[in-house]
Symmetry: D2
Subunit: 279 residues, 4 copies
């Protein structure tokens, strides 16, 4: 599928600051960036960085203090959301995992899997197949957590969401990750653009490592999983933030847009007999 | 496309040896390994390794000295050979390249680009667009180098092939890489399974980095580029050998097979207005 | 300095399990492993792994279920704790940091820097030099947190310790890391063997990135910083655990020992005009 | 030991070019950079890069075409050349090597170990211990190759030097590396500053991986091995060049200087019972 994604961000620079923006579509894996532009409305020192393992790329931007600054990103991306029969989504034994997958079994800032062992075992421990556990986790979150903007904030973690049972896509993802890791299923955060998301915004969901692939899971069920464009993956929002501010910078406004460029986009049906992967 | 690939290898172990086999289909990028098995006909210590940057995975196998050993690999792989309009295949300025791409501008064991600057400049220097340079390199090799088995050997390099004008897929690839690097186009070795290759064998070709993607190029023109299954990429055959032997091991026999599992495989037309990429 | 380090660990295997042990002295940096042995009291499948960026190495061990298992590690290590004048310990501007340092500004499971901004700013924000901030953080923890075994557990985080003001070396380290990150100073967890620690045990402290080096800081002030032998560094105890258990395994006993092999070991004086680094 | 190193480089820019300079002292391992400055005599776009595995760092510099440009680098570095008893310098079995060491067994552009198997086996194959093989390789080169400036050039490889028996430090290093790899001993190129080198210049030698360490070997015997300051390590000069030019740039002049800042520098004695390592 081919998508056009765009983001506009406006900040007010109150003092000399460094801004790290992580809004560019990831290059690599099953995702191709066919066209791309990134613009600021004034001359700035900007550095292009790639994360060590290629799981994100970002711009480090120096902002001298003088008023408003506007950033505008636009890309044409082609990707493939691959269908994988559920029967292939077996667990990988730990000694056979790539060393790069192992960290995704650890607890992290917003996904305190170490605190949720009992809850995970009590609720999902009796399900024998790991992919069925994942689907049960997803459905439990969907059924028990209310999607509501404004309730959670940048400090909210999976443990909080499990108690408060309200949150946004980021919180749904964090809880899903924490529960999967508590079940010894590697899970990571996925942030991207999402076609058909209403209202348009960035989106977050998660991926689990089964059958040697990263399988996409969205506990919000807000969008078709084949309409996502990947920006980054990581442990959780702590290392995959869209913007990180060092200094005194005020976020003013944002505008996000994702369009399908192919005429015949069809939502994939999310059924339990299949997994979907952007790898 | 979905492919079934298989390889059988037979060795005679004359003394305690270590064998590194690099025949498994690469996981990642736009390639998914759906099923896989690797078997030896006796109990052996085998270690699964992934190269640091994920560009190959391989088995390190300890072989105590007692006679013949047979290995058998089989996998079902799904991949996508993406079409990219030639007009998007611009060069990436060096300061904007990912640090992982830069080494592919350096000369290497079998691709002595530093010796071919003059030849490359004289023959392709007047072509203005880098992708057109690549296509001219490919066609020059195809037209001037004779495909002949048995002429070259494990020591043969691009400089040799340019002189001797005979070789096999590996030599065609090495010469293509060396010439592209001499033109400041990052180029790397690609080794894999190839559907429709006659007789069936492993295959080698190369990739160039243009437009932010690795574009596949096969100067042998022996197979459709959309029928390849990637095993590894690297600087050249020096770091991407299918088998590396440390000790006293005699290679006896090999059997390779690549089948398309989709009924409607159609060869892509290799035209100059398009590039193809497995990324 | 030359040290001999040793660890014995005893587990009871109640069901088929995987154990990841991270007790081996790190090779690399300013630390040399001169001799080493790792033994189990029965034949086991053990895999040697190196973390992707070399910041830890560990053994992945498969444990079939039959009773007790004993592990014994011993190494002779030579390292250098380098003295660096405090005046060189300036901050590195974010755009000039190596990409591998940047993650150590993020919050993590046990170091929720994002929750401590206000506390950090109120207490250390008026100190102008970053290394002086680090020393003030260290001294604040030393003066306000009581070292007491048995109070904290594997779930305890920096935010907990700041409230409860009791803990062990791990908690002191987590709080130090969280406060430094809240002050935009990269900080990471350090786990190792410690000469002169009474009673003998593994030890944890932290490192801050200043002047292009990782400077060691120990808020417990229990041991001389030049008597440490590094096992691993990481975000916090979530990715640097000495042992990670997957399955049903019961920890029974442990014995740790660190000896100086040079006769003239002298404790370094920890004064504010100097930093110490194992890099 | 503490050293002050300095380099001045002058180029004439004939057309818009990119220059990659790799002259900065490496940070990390047993080497600390205490002070550092890098200056150009005009405003230029310069990017600081770190190689993926940290084995070099370099500046990518954009040069618009207008006349001469001067670069000036200066650093104060502290490092330790560690002494390791030869009896500890055993080989590491391939399955136990870190994955990052394995590539240093492969042939490379200037170190065609695959062409030198017979020569290596005939001359050094009957020596049983690997470190003694290394010392024999070093002494063979020292005794049979004449150090002469101006004979070899940027295309000269180990195979050439073995035939022509003349060269400079770079050629001595390449031949040493090629022979060690042919003996299944991992070996890599080392480039740096060298105290007491007459006349002052950059220097090249090599390292072998034995006993879990990289041991420094200098077949030129021109300088004490404890007076080296590391710039980079790599496969050979193909990936560790001090300067890489893309475009039309004319090298005009260079000035290199290495001073010891400690008064009591003493040359280490290079005896066969010991190895020296910067790790």
């Amino acid at each position: 599928m081919k998508f056009e994604v765009a983001a506009k961000l406006k900040y007010e620079v109150l003092a000399s600051s460094t801004l790290i923006l992580n809004v560019e579509a990831l290059m690599g894996g099953s995702q191709f960036v066919l066209e791309e532009s990134f613009e600021a409305d004034r001359e700035l020192k900007m550095y292009n960085w790639n994360a060590v393992a290629g799981e994100k790329r970002f711009k480090v931007i120096e902002l001298p203090p003088n008023g408003e600054v506007n950033f505008s990103y636009r890309a044409v991306v082609e990707n493939t959301c691959r269908v994988i029969p559920a029967k292939q989504l077996d667990e990988t034994l730990i000694p056979l995992m790539p060393v790069s997958v192992l960290p995704y079994l650890n607890p992290s800032r917003y996904c305190q899997s170490d605190k949720l062992y009992k809850f995970a075992a009590d609720n999902f421990g009796n399900i024998s197949k790991p992919y069925e556990q994942v689907l049960a986790v997803r459905d439990w979150i969907y059924n028990h957590v209310e999607y509501r903007a404004g309730h959670s904030n940048a400090n909210t973690s999976a443990a909080d969401t499990l108690k408060e049972k309200m949150g946004v896509c980021r919180d749904f993802a964090h809880l899903g990750i924490a529960l999967c890791r508590a079940l010894t299923i590697p899970a990571r955060y996925f942030t991207g653009y999402a076609y058909k998301l209403e209202p348009q915004d960035f989106h977050a969901c998660f991926e689990v490592y089964l059958g040697g692939c990263w399988i996409i899971v969205d506990a919000t069920k807000l969008v078709p999983v084949n309409g996502l464009v990947k920006i980054a993956t990581g442990m959780d929002a702590s290392d995959s933030a869209l913007a990180s501010i060092f200094g005194n910078l005020k976020f003013l406004a944002m505008e996000v847009n994702t369009k399908a460029l192919d005429e015949k986009f069809e939502d994939v049906e999310v059924v339990n007999s299949r997994g979907y992967s952007y790898q």
